[in-house]
Symmetry: C2
Subunit: 341 residues, 2 copies
Amino acid sequence: MAISNKTPTINDVARAAGVSKKTVSRVINRSALLKQDTRKKVEAVIAELGYVPNPQARALALRRNFLLGLLHDNPNAQTVLNFQEGVLDAIRDTEFALVVRPVDRHSPKMLEDIRHFLEQQRLYGVLILPPISENDELAALCREMGCGYVRMGSAPLDDEEHIVASNDREMVESAVDYLVESGHRRIGIIKGPEGFRSALERSEGFMAAMRKHGLAVPAELVAQGTYRFESGLDAAGQLLDREQRPTAIFCSNDEMAAGALHAARQRKVSVPADLSIIGFDDSPIAAHIWPPLTTVGWPIREMAKAAALKLVAPADERAQDYIFPARLVQRQSVAPPPDKF
Amino acid sequence: MAISNKTPTINDVARAAGVSKKTVSRVINRSALLKQDTRKKVEAVIAELGYVPNPQARALALRRNFLLGLLHDNPNAQTVLNFQEGVLDAIRDTEFALVVRPVDRHSPKMLEDIRHFLEQQRLYGVLILPPISENDELAALCREMGCGYVRMGSAPLDDEEHIVASNDREMVESAVDYLVESGHRRIGIIKGPEGFRSALERSEGFMAAMRKHGLAVPAELVAQGTYRFESGLDAAGQLLDREQRPTAIFCSNDEMAAGALHAARQRKVSVPADLSIIGFDDSPIAAHIWPPLTTVGWPIREMAKAAALKLVAPADERAQDYIFPARLVQRQSVAPPPDKF
DNA sequence: ACGAGATAGGAAACCGGTGTCAAAGTGTAT
DNA sequence: ATACACTTTGACACCGGTTTCCTATCTCGT
């Protein structure tokens, strides 16, 4: 009788179906011990009333909510967005939602801010993107607060349960293999910023691969970058101004590779005829610069999905994989070295 | 005595402070009718226990939660991320959080999906990014469901209360002014995809500005794009292959401008010496291609903040502004036309 | 000193779900 | 028909806040 004009609650359903709240709750939660008749009847009423359980009430009663957090300070927008899409792939058709939280790595209050955020929102769990995923204090904070977490990274830097990683080292190796097969011997590297695990993995992978091929990497072919476009411009400039310049440059990410391309153009060095450039990340910019950049891509979206499932999926359904392979994306910035070399 | 090892609740605080729950609640909510003594006492206990109110319980009792949603299907990652940052600027230090939801504009179930999402999460309000912000059915859905919403756009397409817009038309005009001042007369345009309001605003703004300068825009100088890189490549190709090609091209976004740059390079047309190109959006790619792109930027982050405040701020504190000015960003892709013209 | 009006604080119900446990129903063996 | 085990359902308390309504206390004027 008392038909409410507001959104129906579990009580409305119970009354309309002539059963108790608890029975409706059982229907919602797919409890096994229900007679088919009852279930059907209640489901019919639910459909008729358009009842949807209130997530806040559920969260309160269950003492846990259905919010996943995404903590990131990633400079690459496309990476972050792809990651968001991947998480959505995992939680679509569930009651979970994704809360985003960009953080400022350079702020001295960062940890305090995040603590406050976690306390206040009481998230079910958080996903942490590199580079801050490399911050062990942050992981410790999550543990301390009893908040589930998964760290994305370029190397396994936590328990299997808390990490989803790409195998950067191996992929750098295949990039170097490719350059060597193309005939290059004098290969330079623009490293990523110190203190970044991914930068370390990439540069060590590079050194290891060069060693494998019996090639030297003199200091004059190593330049330091920051993962930013401008640093790629500067670093490549240094490399190209050496007395004997490299015939190929491995850039630790695509933005720096784009910068390197600029540096080459400024010096009238033609890519790939005079100089081969290879990037890392397969960010969208890679396809939109000239020449299109050969690079190494990692499956962010799949990794994101796996990470979200690690938090959300019932333990027995969890995929065991936590290290993902990257792949070489061949475009047009690599060619055999010029003859004179 | 009964010190709990779990996170403290309002009851714990009340007991420890020797007051009732309600009094603690009053302290939390800054109720005016409290003696200073009591307030201080309770605040001390709160600080000591590290009490933080449970947002789910609050949401339940208040019949509203503190979640803002972001609905987007924007192809430009940087725009989306900047927007997220802007929203965070607005809700930092509040109890609100931002839930993201990428949507698929091409899915026939899009509206149904969003309805389900809104029903399930019961968001406080949603922010809608272009291009789906132009979907009136979606706005109607929000109204029907009693969900607050603000649409971002390139023109005022809803009540003042529900819109934050940039003035694309005016900005295109200033871009054209700039080209004309530089000496260009034969100016082409690559339009955005049909059905996009922003595309319409930009192309109409272009036509109006050309008319103002008494310049004709023959059909052969108009090309259709889709806002994507490849379409810019194709469209610019068409324009450049005309018998008498333009000396400048206005591109309705930066990605297409990047494509246009490629098309010029393929044809050995030098930019800006032989051809000027101007973009729109000031996306990061604009600074990272060669030559750096002159473009029109709009203050996404500020607009995002304003949009979030429209939902979150008390009515009396709301800024009245809802149309934001863009600005011309001069880089190096525009120069006077070559002499022969 | 006393009653009126304002002010501070508390008791209990409520928001919309879930957990516990006992009651009711069902079917089978005796 | 009775006892017994097992399935199905409901009553009630509870999660952690807010709201309503009421009482105790505190001025203050006379």
